[in-house]
C-alpha cells in the first residue's frame, strides 16, 4: 500500500474509533448550553471554543463524527445491496430486465445531484433514517452500473458455460461463479461512496434538512456562517473535520483501486 493510502486508512480508522468512543472521549456534553459564554474563542477548558449557545465545539465535533459515520456506512451498505442485486439481474438476464433497470436509472438521474435528496428529505421530514433513505435512492445506481457491466462481460465466458453444462442453475451461477469476480470495483466505489454520502449528509444539514438534536458537522457550519466575522472558529473546525474525513476516504479509495485493479485483471484470463 502506498504511504498516501496508509494515511487514508489511518484517518478512516480514527474516524470510526472517534465515532464509536465519542461519549467517552468528549470532554463535555455536546448539548449543554452556557449562554453567558457564547462564541468564546478556544481556551484551556474548551479547546476548540464555544458556539452560539456556549456549547463545547470539540465535543460537538467528536459527536458529529457519529452522524457522519452512521449515515456514510448505512447509505453505502443499502446502496451496495440494492445496486448489486439489480445490476446482477440486469447484466445476467439482459433484455427486458436490463431495459427496466436502465430506464429507471435514466429517470432517477434526471434529477441533478442532491436535488432529489433535498426534495425527499423535505417530504419525509429531517431524521437520520430519512436522510439515509433519500441518499440511497440515488446511491445504488453507481454500483448497479458497475455490476451490470461486469456481468455483461463475464456471462459470455467459458467458465460460465462450463458451470451451466455441469447443471448449475442461474442463481448458483450468479452467486457462486460470477459475483465473486465482481467485488473489487464495487469495494473501490463503495469507499468513494462513503465520502460522497458523508458530504451529502453535511450538505443537507447545512441547508437545514439534517437531523435535529444530534450535532452534525453540516449543521454546525450552518450555525457558524452567521458569525464568521466575530467567531470564525465555530465554522472552521467542523469544516476541517469534514475535509480531513473526505480526504482520508479518497486516499483510501485510490489506494484500494491501485491494489485491487491489477489483481482484478487476473480473472480476465479466459477458461
Amino acid at each position: 500500500m502506498t504511504p498516501v493510502a496508509r494515511i487514508g486508512l489511518a484517518i478512516v480508522a480514527t474516524l470510526v474509533v472517534v465515532a464509536a468512543a465519542a461519549p467517552h472521549i468528549a470532554p463535555q456534553d455536546p448539548n449543554t448550553q452556557h449562554l453567558a459564554e457564547h462564541l468564546r474563542s478556544p481556551s484551556s477548558t474548551h479547546l476548540l471554543g464555544q458556539d452560539r449557545t456556549g456549547r463545547d465545539i470539540l465535543s460537538r465535533v467528536l459527536f458529529g463524527a457519529r452522524v457522519s459515520v452512521l449515515v456514510g456506512f448505512a447509505t453505502v451498505a443499502i446502496s451496495v445491496f440494492v445496486g448489486v442485486c439489480l445490476g446482477s439481474l440486469a447484466g445476467y438476464f439482459g433484455r427486458l430486465v436490463d431495459d427496466a433497470v436502465m430506464r429507471t436509472i435514466d429517470v432517477l438521474q434526471a434529477f441533478p445531484g442532491i436535488l432529489l435528496a433535498i426534495a425527499l428529505t423535505a417530504v419525509l421530514g429531517p431524521s437520520l433514517r430519512n436522510i439515509v433513505l433519500a441518499l440511497s435512492v440515488l446511491g445504488w445506481i453507481g454500483y448497479a452500473r458497475i455490476v451490470r457491466g461486469q456481468f455483461l462481460r463475464l456471462r459470455e465466458m467459458e467458465f460460465v458455460s462450463a458451470a451451466r453444462a455441469l447443471g448449475a442453475g442461474d442463481l448458483r451461477i450468479i452467486l457462486h461463479h460470477i459475483l465473486p469476480n465482481v467485488w473489487a470495483p464495487v469495494i473501490v466505489q463503495a469507499t468513494f461512496g462513503v465520502a460522497a454520502a458523508i458530504l451529502a449528509e453535511a450538505s443537507l444539514s447545512f441547508l437545514g434538512l439534517g437531523t435535529q438534536g444530534m450535532p452534525s458537522w453540516g449543521g454546525m457550519l450552518n450555525e457558524g456562517i452567521d458569525f464568521l466575522a466575530e467567531a470564525p472558529h465555530v465554522a472552521i473546525f467542523p469544516g476541517l473535520a469534514l475535509m480531513i474525513t473526505i480526504l482520508g476516504l479518497n486516499f483510501l479509495g485510490d489506494g484500494l483501486r491501485d491494489r485491487l485493479d491489477p489483481r482484478m485483471r487476473a480473472f480476465d484470463t479466459p477458461g
Partner: protein, 306 residues
C-alpha cells in the same frame, strides 16, 4: 444525425413527464398543512376551509394531478402560497442570477483547469505537476459550504476586497464563482492532464514534431483538440453537480437565485414554489444534458453512428 436528435427529443418528453409526476407527488406528501402554516394554528376553521378551497387543496389528489399537468403544459405553475405571485414569474425572475453564477463558475473552472492540466501533462511528475495534483485533490475534498466561508473570511472580512454577500456588480460574483467552480476546476484539471498525456503519446503528435512544427502548435493545435472530447464529456457529466452546488453556494453568499428560492420555499412549506423550483432545475438539467450530448455528437463523428 437526425435520428439521433429525434430519439433524444422523444426521450426528453418522456423524462419531462416522469420528472413532473415525481415532483408533484413528492410535494404533496410534505408533512405539515400549508394552510395551517399560513394562517397559524389558532385560525378559524371556516377561514382554513376557505383558503383550502381557494388553493385547490380540497380536491381529490388525482384531480389535482391532472390539473397540474394541464397547467404545466400552458406554462402555469400556480401561485406561491405566501407572496401570491405567479410561481412561473418568480422562478423566471431568479433564473438569470443562477445562470450567471453557474456560467461564471464554469468559466473560472476552465480558466484554471485547462492551463494547469496542459502544463502538468507537458511536464509530468515535475514540481508543478505534483503541486497541481495536490491542489486538485484539495479542491475535490473541500465542501462548498466550507470553502465559501473561508474565502469570505479571507477576502471579504480580513482583506475587504469583495463584498460578503448579495449580488451587486461583478465584484460580488467573484467569490461565489470561485467557490462553485473550485471542485469543477479540480476534476477538469485532472481530466485535462490525463487526456493530454494520452494524446501526446499518439503517433500523429510525433509526426507533427518530426515535420518541424513548433512545440506550441503541436500541443495547442493538435493535442488539445483531440483531448477536448473526454474533457467535454466530463464537463457535461459535472453539470448536474454544478447545478445542485448552486443551491448550497447561493445560501452561503445570499445569492438571489433559484437555489435560494428553493430552500426558502421548503422552509415556508410553499408547495407551488418548491414544485416550481425543482421542476425548473430538473428541466434545465435535462435540457443541458441534451445540448451536451448533441455537442458531443457534433464534435466526435463516431458517436452519431451508434
Amino acid at each position: 444525425m437526425k435520428r439521433f436528435v429525434a430519439r433524444r427529443l422523444v426521450f426528453l418528453v418522456f423524462v419531462g413527464l416522469a420528472v413532473s409526476t415525481l415532483v408533484f407527488f413528492f410535494v404533496h406528501l410534505i408533512p405539515g398543512d400549508p394552510v395551517e402554516v399560513m394562517l397559524g394554528e389558532t385560525a378559524q376553521a371556516a377561514d382554513k376551509a376557505a383558503l383550502r378551497a381557494q388553493l385547490g387543496l380540497d380536491r381529490p389528489l388525482l384531480e389535482q394531478y391532472t390539473g397540474f399537468l394541464h397547467n404545466l403544459l400552458r406554462g402555469d405553475l400556480g401561485y406561491s402560497f405566501y407572496t401570491r405571485r405567479p410561481v412561473t414569474q418568480v422562478v423566471l425572475s431568479r433564473l438569470p442570477a443562477t445562470a450567471e453564477l453557474a456560467g461564471a463558475a464554469i468559466l473560472v473552472a476552465i480558466l484554471i483547469a485547462l492551463p494547469a492540466g496542459i502544463l502538468s501533462a507537458v511536464r509530468p511528475y515535475s514540481g508543478f505537476d505534483h503541486a497541481s495534483m495536490l491542489a486538485s485533490l484539495l479542491g475535490v475534498s473541500m465542501p462548498t459550504f466550507w470553502l465559501g466561508p473561508l474565502l469570505i473570511l479571507l477576502f471579504s472580512i480580513r482583506l475587504d476586497w469583495f463584498p460578503v454577500s448579495g449580488r451587486e456588480g461583478i465584484s460580488s460574483l467573484v467569490l461565489p464563482a470561485l467557490t462553485l467552480g473550485a471542485a469543477l476546476a479540480a476534476i477538469l484539471s485532472r481530466m485535462t492532464r490525463s487526456a493530454m498525456l494520452e494524446v501526446i503519446r499518439e503517433e500523429y503528435i510525433t509526426a507533427g514534431r518530426a515535420k518541424g512544427l513548433g512545440e506550441k502548435t503541436v500541443i495547442l493545435k493538435h493535442a488539445l483538440r483531440n483531448a477536448l472530447i473526454p474533457i467535454l464529456t466530463v464537463l457535461g457529466l459535472q453539470i448536474g453537480a454544478l447545478l445542485s452546488g448552486t443551491v448550497v453556494t447561493e445560501k452561503v453568499f445570499a445569492w438571489p437565485g433559484i437555489g435560494r428560492l428553493l430552500v426558502d420555499g421548503i422552509e415556508a412549506r410553499d408547495y407551488p414554489l418548491v414544485q416550481g423550483c425543482v421542476l425548473a432545475i430538473s428541466f434545465t438539467y435535462v435540457l443541458v444534458n441534451l445540448i451536451t450530448d448533441l455537442l458531443y455528437a457534433a464534435v466526435d463523428p463516431r458517436i452519431r453512428f451508434d
